[in-house]
Amino acid sequence: MKELEFPFDNKYIMRKRKSVRKQLLSDGSLRIKKKIAVLGGSTADDVISALDLFLLNFGIEAEFYKSEYNKFYEDAVFGNPELDEFAPDLIYIHTTSRNLTMLPESPAETEEQVNLRLENQFDRFKQVWVSLVQKYGCPIIQNNFELPLFRRTGSWDGWGISGTAAFINRLNVMLSDYARHNNGFYINDINYLSSVIGLEKWHDTEAWYMYKYAMSTSVIPELSYSIACIIKSVYGKNQKVIALDLDNTLWGGIIGDDGVDGIEIGEETAVGEAYSEFQHFIKNYKNYGIILTVCSKNEEENALAGLNHPTGILRPDDFASIKASWNPKDLNLAESADELGLLPESFVFVDDNPAECAIVNAQLPAVHTVHAESVGKAMYTLSRGGFFEITSVSEDDLKRSDMYAENAKRISQQKKFENYTDYLLSLDMHGEIKDFTPVYLQRITQLTNKSNQFNLTTKRYTQQEMEQVCAMPDRIRLYGRLADKFGDNGIVSVVIGRCEGDTLHVELWLMSCRVLKRDMEFAMLDELVSQCRDRNISKIMGYYYKTPKNNMVSQLFGAFGFDLVEQSENGDSVWKLNITGYENKNKVIKVNEKENIYE
């Protein structure tokens, strides 16, 4: 719903939230269900009601638990049967600088005394986190602390021994350090948020005196949006691609008219400098695993010439797909999506022309569009839009762009072979299919939570739940990693099965779409069968749970040779395979032969 996309109208959302909620709930979209506990150090009602809307819009239907007013510490540390019964999937701790109890009082305090205050204050919060993780083992989102509006001593407050702002800044650093060292613990940066909105607008002392809201009720949607973005990232619902227009988006001018020498990019002019900063800003997204594509109305030759401009920063090989033609942009974008094996909803489209944004919006409503009115506005919308909210960075993220570029090379090689098996053999593929190991767990969890298409049960796991699965003796767990002569694809497939007597129930089976048609799924099945035999298991039960996105695997078990046991009206199905006479299906990937498959 457009009204809930950044930039949104805070006041509209607060005023219309009831009807907005009804509209969302009746739009027929399927949503994952999550239980979210909000432990508040101040009133949280409106925070929750706005969060509810943003999450619904992100495809997450949340049920909420709300602690009694300012009982976040008690609920966490001493326990609360109601919260136990609720069994949260995720906990948000809604505290602010209003909850700081150990602020320094006087410049007469020594550095040691203030350090002790800092440690005690931090420990009070740490107790909350440690205790929650012990009890519930679920992701935790914690606000850091905003600067107060008032200060007695001018700038001194930001650096002096007893300055409140100085104390808060130091405490925030401690929180960040903690977050970096604790998986499943995320900071909601209200220090940034309150600054970007403006402390004068953020704070409303009367809202505190009257209602115990720790910020102005008019900025609450901004706060809720920030939380919702972290939650959507935790559950793997981030966007993955930036599709970029070229003329007047990545450089000044029109390459077809002005020629390579006529476009503005580089340090010589103010306009050129703006586009240099923008290209640099965009290029760095690649380091976080975000894929870049071009979606431009241009001759391809001109597009490439522009991207090879001597003072340009983005180069043709920074893009996993370049679509420069006179086709409507929604078609170009859909083609890129096909090529990359991604859904349109994974795309953020950036264009200076509002008409092009409108066309893409109308034809592909799932695509997010950013109207690049100016370079500054485009960077601001990308900064605040929450499309690429990062909650963890895996080794695969760091290499993803390269992987897609390698895929482009594979496709061009494919054209040289008449026989597809010959092509697959020519790739010299090596697979590693083994039980989960701790170093891969983060990537396994990440892949599990963001695979939608090649995913039979679409079961999601938090990092903590995955760790629990690792400790269960009755589970067979397999990750699959695939490399070939063009490069390493990293971990691309995950399977989890539960043993019960002589039967294995497949709880999870998924694969990244970037290795479709490489027979990797057969290699996974071969290994699964082999492990079943080791455990004297004679049959495998497969389950397909239909979602709007996983139609591509509705017949996968059939292709594997399973027999259909049950077909439900809602599209779900149950399959069975007797493995006694099973023969290996993969003939093209060499599995577990090399110590290190990417050498």
Partner: protein, 81 residues
């Protein structure tokens, strides 16, 4: 500000906040007349009214208004848009 205009616009705010198209407020309307009007919704209502009329209620007014009539009087006196 014209009192009738204020009542018309105020009714619109109430309809949005309580998501009930049938609400028409008058000077004698109180929280007892509207099912969902509790202390939490009151906060949201006050915010929406302040935004609609470009004014702010004083703290003692927020908790002290006995009926919508008092709210209308304050808006007529201090509303800016």
């Amino acid at each position: 500000m014209n009192k009738n205009d204020v009542i018309t616009r105020l009714s619109e705010v109430f309809r949005d906040v309580f998501d009930d198209e049938d609400i028409t407020v008058s000077g004698s309307t109180t929280s007892a007349d509207i099912e969902d009007w509790d202390s939490i919704e009151h906060i949201n209502l006050i915010g929406a009214v302040e935004e609609e009329f470009g004014m702010r209620f004083k703290m003692k007014e927020v908790s002290g208004m006995k009926n919508v009539g008092e709210m209308i009087d304050i808006i007529c006196e201090r509303g800016t848009k």
